[in-house]
């Protein structure tokens, strides 16, 4: 079978782009190879680890479980985009403060997933933070420091209103 391709146009981190892509290419391969955005990582490529998390039309999804052609017309935000806008600057700072990353492989996925909890902050328990992050594997930290960093950021945002 020859490689089927399709033209797509989408917004990536606020910039409108158009490309012709193989229909079987998943969104993270597109972002990494076509757009040079290597912040989204590939751990398992079957939905289990969460390293590939990206935001599509406002919702966090597994970038390895969505085809690039399915993002046609969508707004995609990666960890680079979140960093540029400063949306998670406080969370990133607390990841450093709490030593919540070691090898850093899981970190972009953790930041994007946690950003959903922080966008419209409501008081939540540590158990709820763990539940929210349950789809993201970290092989280094043992999670405790990550939960700390998210909790600190959330509490600060709540305090500041």
């Amino acid at each position: 079978m020859s490689e089927a391709t399709m033209e797509i146009s989408l917004s990536v981190n606020g910039e409108q782009v158009a490309r012709t892509v193989p229909v079987r290419q998943h969104l993270v391969d597109f972002l990494r190879t076509e757009m040079g955005l290597t912040g989204s990582h590939l751990g398992c490529e079957h939905g289990v680890c969460g390293a590939c998390s990206v935001r599509v039309d406002g919702a966090v999804v597994r970038g390895c479980l969505m085809l690039a052609v399915q993002a046609d017309g969508a707004e995609v935000v990666t960890v680079e985009g979140l960093t540029q806008t400063g949306e998670v600057a406080d969370l990133q700072e607390n990841f450093v403060n709490r030593n919540a990353m070691q090898c850093g492989y899981c970190t972009p996925g953790m930041l994007i997933t946690a950003s959903e909890l922080l966008r419209d902050p409501k008081p939540v328990t540590r158990a709820e933070i763990r539940d929210h992050l349950s789809g993201n594997f970290c092989r280094c930290t043992g999670y405790h420091a990550i939960v700390d960093a998210v909790e600190m950021t959330l509490n600060k945002r709540l305090e500041e209103g």
Partner: protein, 289 residues
């Protein structure tokens, strides 16, 4: 790994999808949320000729209360079901089960129709739909038909849906006054598929069960209604002896498939423990109501 080569068509409407399904036959494969299909493509466990993407079909999602039936479009995302006030009020069993379905990011994209179409034996939604006596509506170029949950689940990833049929809607009877429901499962990690689980719908009078449906998942090759355990409970005052009799009877209802998560004996044990807990909880909920 990377997905094998395939062709891809975006279905513009229901009728377009039905036409594609009919033309492509075995070569076509629907992609909804992709949360089960994409892993199998990436691992090259499936190799469809053409993917039929139904995500842009406008009238295939949404939740409405229609008389005493809750209608849920096949393309409704898990997250929409989880956040739906209609589901919370009229299908509390499903509301209780939804947080157990995968993880946050998977629920943002996965669909209830995809879950029911796939019929994974460890999945929550098929068990709930069976416990609640729901109906699946499927459509093909030849028209539509309704399939009761009892007749729909055939076995391991096998259902009564034909390859040229699109699952379009679930119709689930709304909770009646006095109905009690309980959902419980055990999984290795929160959000993973169940090692054992059950969906329970009961009518309780005083401390006796007058009506009871127990559906087990994560153990047989499909969601399974238990009849022996139910007979041991109906009409009896709920007690430790009654619980003992019910869990004993469950041995005749279930013959769990062993998998990486546990042996058959272990799974049966877990289902018995869950049965006791679920029925205790049902009685507590009836008292509190």
């Amino acid at each position: 790994m990377k997905a094998p080569k395939f062709n891809y068509v975006k279905a513009e409407s229901r009728s377009h999808a039905l036409q594609l399904l009919d033309e492509l036959g075995e070569d076509g494969r629907i992609i909804a949320g992709g949360q089960s299909l994409m892993p199998t493509l990436n691992m090259r466990l499936s190799q469809p000729d053409t993917l039929i993407d139904i995500n842009k079909i406008p009238d295939l999602g949404g939740i409405t209360l229609d008389g005493n039936i809750v209608r849920i479009g096949a393309l409704t995302r898990h997250v929409e079901v989880a956040n739906s006030p209609v589901v919370a009020e009229h299908l509390p069993l499903i509301a209780e089960a939804m947080p157990h379905v995968a993880h946050h990011a998977v629920r943002n994209r996965g669909t209830i129709g995809g879950s029911v179409a796939l019929a994974d034996p460890a999945a929550e939604m098929p068990a709930c739909v069976l416990a609640l006596g729901g109906t699946m509506v499927v459509e093909s170029v030849n028209g539509s038909r309704e399939i009761a949950a009892e007749d729909y689940f055939h076995g391991l990833y096998e259902t009564a849906r034909e390859t040229n049929e699109l699952l379009v809607e679930l119709r689930i009877p709304a909770k009646k006054t006095g109905d009690i429901s309980v959902f419980m499962e055990l999984a290795q990690r929160h959000g993973d598929y169940a090692m054992a689980g059950l969906a329970c719908v009961a009518r309780i009078n005083g401390n006796a069960f007058e009506g009871l449906r127990l559906v087990y998942f994560g153990s047989e090759d499909k969601p399974t209604l238990a009849s022996k355990a139910v007979s041991a409970v109906i009409g009896q005052a709920w007690s430790e002896e009654c619980k003992e009799a019910a869990t004993k009877a469950l041995e005749d209802d279930l013959d769990p498939m062993a998998n990486l998560q546990g042996s058959s004996a272990m799974k049966l044990h877990l289902q018995k423990v869950l049965t006791g807990r679920a029925l205790d909880t049902a009685i507590e909920r009836a008292e509190a109501a």
